[in-house]
């Protein structure tokens, strides 16, 4: 039970954030540019809105990554003390491994 393992979790969440940004950029392929009509304008406006929404989702994932990194630092700080040894022993007994 250490801060590095929590930091790796934060990294995974950071990768998810990049993945979502990639998906948002990929939505440009769904613009159906050959479609020209009122419906098409509505559709493309909605699509752009979805791209913005995905960017917001990625930002929320960034927040989660930052929160996990902060937690990793807090775990590192606490792990050096007596509570850390106790928690490590408890995790070992419970079979919790990274």
């Amino acid at each position: 039970m250490d801060g590095n393992w929590v930091r790796r979790c934060a990294g995974e969440v950071g990768e998810l954030s990049e993945q979502v940004r990639g998906l948002a950029a990929g939505l440009g392929a769904a613009r159906a540019e050959s479609w020209r009509s009122l419906a098409a304008e509505d559709y493309r406006a909605t699509l752009e809105e979805q791209q913005r929404a995905l960017a917001a989702t990625a930002a929320v994932l960034d927040d989660a990554r930052a929160a996990l990194e902060a937690h990793a630092r807090a775990v590192e700080d606490a792990a050096g003390g007596p509570l850390g040894a106790l928690a490590g022993k408890a995790a070992e007994l419970l079979g919790l491994h990274p």
Binding site: V6, L16, A39, D42, D63, A67, R73, A74, L96
Partner: protein, 467 residues
């Protein structure tokens, strides 16, 4: 490739006509595939985020730092299932893909169907017909790309998250169901609803009401009229706006006798004559028929395709004016007047006697009238005017039928939206429109309009319904 509608910089939306645009349904399918692929990617991201949030070892670190863990878990839950989270984003993409596929499927029916599928649902106007929505049902059943993996993830890791899926699903699913819900009143209204009678429609229901009126005191349309006529000074109209302003002048509120229509004979410099008939809308709202033929009884009868005293007034007006069988006739009407214009243009008995070449209708439900392809139709509709949608169907999309729609000014009342002079304002935009379809359509109006050497004479004809 199918025709569609387009929006001009003047705020007008034009459907049909010579300058139509197109959609390639294979492109729509490809775009829908891209959307669903992105939704699938989000599903994978949702599973991954859920697995991080629920890792037992991560939860165990709460013993060491409970406050920071609580914050980290809260942000993870928000990223997963909050209003800006992965699950909601995936559902939105799924819904958009679903609508796009529905648009592709519906494109062979009408542009309005496609617009309803991907744009705002015009439920109050009743434009959506249940048949156009049925393709959504099997598609809706297939929208499990996000929800199933997420559900599996939740059950696998034993999460009990306050995620908003229960709140979001009814909303996302509700959008799919809204058209069906909107169709329910028609579906459950015996004996004319489509579930009871698959061939039924709003005009069909109006026909039932009109038929029922024959047996009682209400909505009884005799179809008979006596008229009086007087000459009136006239100059040829200058365009669509002027035509509609003249229709507005036929209302009692503008000083015309109740039940009036106005005929103008326009003679060109070559001596050829063309006729313009200006027909106002409903003036009496009692269900009990009275002498004024422009009443609620005429509305119901006209919507149901029955003969009306108001239409008979138009026939007598053209007879009295001296219109010949080869003279071109333009019928311009507002509301009920537009319905009468379309009904007369679709009536073989009328068109054998008078050569209707043009119909201009403002704020009228026209979809139910089988206007021959040779008649050029210009339909004006305001988006906040419910009357044009009373027939529950979109106007046909064909080369010489143009439907021009205009979005409302904010805060306008339904009555103001339906006002004939408001349509005259829209007519001014039509007159000035650069749209290719509109320009081509307006070019055909030349015989009816002011031009060098053209003169006009007018006749005001007042109809009185007889029993």
């Amino acid at each position: 490739m199918v025709p569609a509608a387009r929006r001009g910089s003047d705020g007008l939306q034009v459907q049909g006509g010579a300058g139509g645009v197109a959609a390639r349904t294979d492109d729509l399918e490809q775009a829908a595939g891209a959307l669903q692929s992105a939704a699938g990617g989000l599903a994978e991201a949702a599973v991954a985020a859920a697995s991080v949030a629920a890792r037992p070892l991560l939860l165990a670190t709460g013993v060491l730092a409970p406050l920071t863990l609580a914050r980290a878990e809260a942000t993870l839950v928000a990223a997963l299932a909050g209003s800006r989270g992965i699950v909601v984003a995936g559902l939105r993409l799924e819904t958009l893909a679903l609508r796009l596929r529905a648009a592709a499927l519906g494109y062979d029916v009408a542009e309005n169907g496609a617009r309803a599928a991907v744009g705002q649902l015009e439920l109050a106007a009743g434009r959506l017909v249940a048949a156009g929505v049925l393709p959504l049902v099997p598609l809706a059943a297939a929208t499990s790309v996000v929800t199933v993996p997420f559900g599996v993830a939740v059950s696998r890791v034993g999460l009990r998250l306050p995620f908003p899926v229960p709140a979001q699903w009814p909303r996302a699913g509700g959008r799919l169901l809204e058209p069906l819900v909107a169709a329910l009143p028609g579906a459950i209204t015996p004996p004319a609803g489509p579930l009871w009678n698959p061939g039924a429609s709003v005009p069909g229901l109006a026909g039932v009401l009109a038929d029922a009126g024959r047996a009682g005191p209400f909505l009884h349309e005799s179809g008979s009229v006596v008229v009086t006529a007087r000459p009136a000074p006239a100059v040829p109209p200058r365009g669509v706006s002027d035509l509609l302003a003249r229709v507005a002048a036929c209302y009692p509120a503008a000083g015309a006798p109740p039940g009036s229509v106005r005929v103008e004979g326009v003679s060109g410099p070559d001596g050829r004559r063309a006729w313009v008939v200006e027909i106002p809308g409903t003036q009496e709202w009692s269900p009990r028929p009275g002498p004024n033929p422009a009443d609620l009884t005429a509305d119901v009868a006209a919507l149901g395709g029955a003969s009306t005293a108001a239409a008979a007034t138009v026939v007598r007006a053209l007879e009295l004016a001296g219109a010949g069988p080869s003279d071109p006739v333009l019928l311009a009407g507002h509301s009920l007047g537009g319905m009468l214009a379309a009904a007369l243009a679709a009536d073989p008995g009328f068109t054998r006697r008078f050569r209707v070449t043009h119909v201009v209708a403002a704020g009228s439900p026209l979809a139910g009238y089988r206007v021959p392809a040779g008649v050029a139709v210009l339909a004006l509709e305001h988006d906040d005017d419910l009357v044009p949608a009373l027939d529950g169907a979109p106007d046909p999309d064909r080369a010489n039928w143009i439907t021009v729609r205009r979005s409302p000014r904010r805060g306008r009342s339904p009555a103001a939206a339906h006002d004939c002079l408001a349509y005259a304002e829209t007519g001014a935009l039509v007159d000035a429109s650069p749209d290719a379809s509109v320009r081509a359509w307006l070019a055909g109006l030349t015989p009816f309009l002011a031009r060098p050497g053209a003169t006009a004479r007018g006749l005001v004809v007042v109809g009185r319904r007889t029993s």
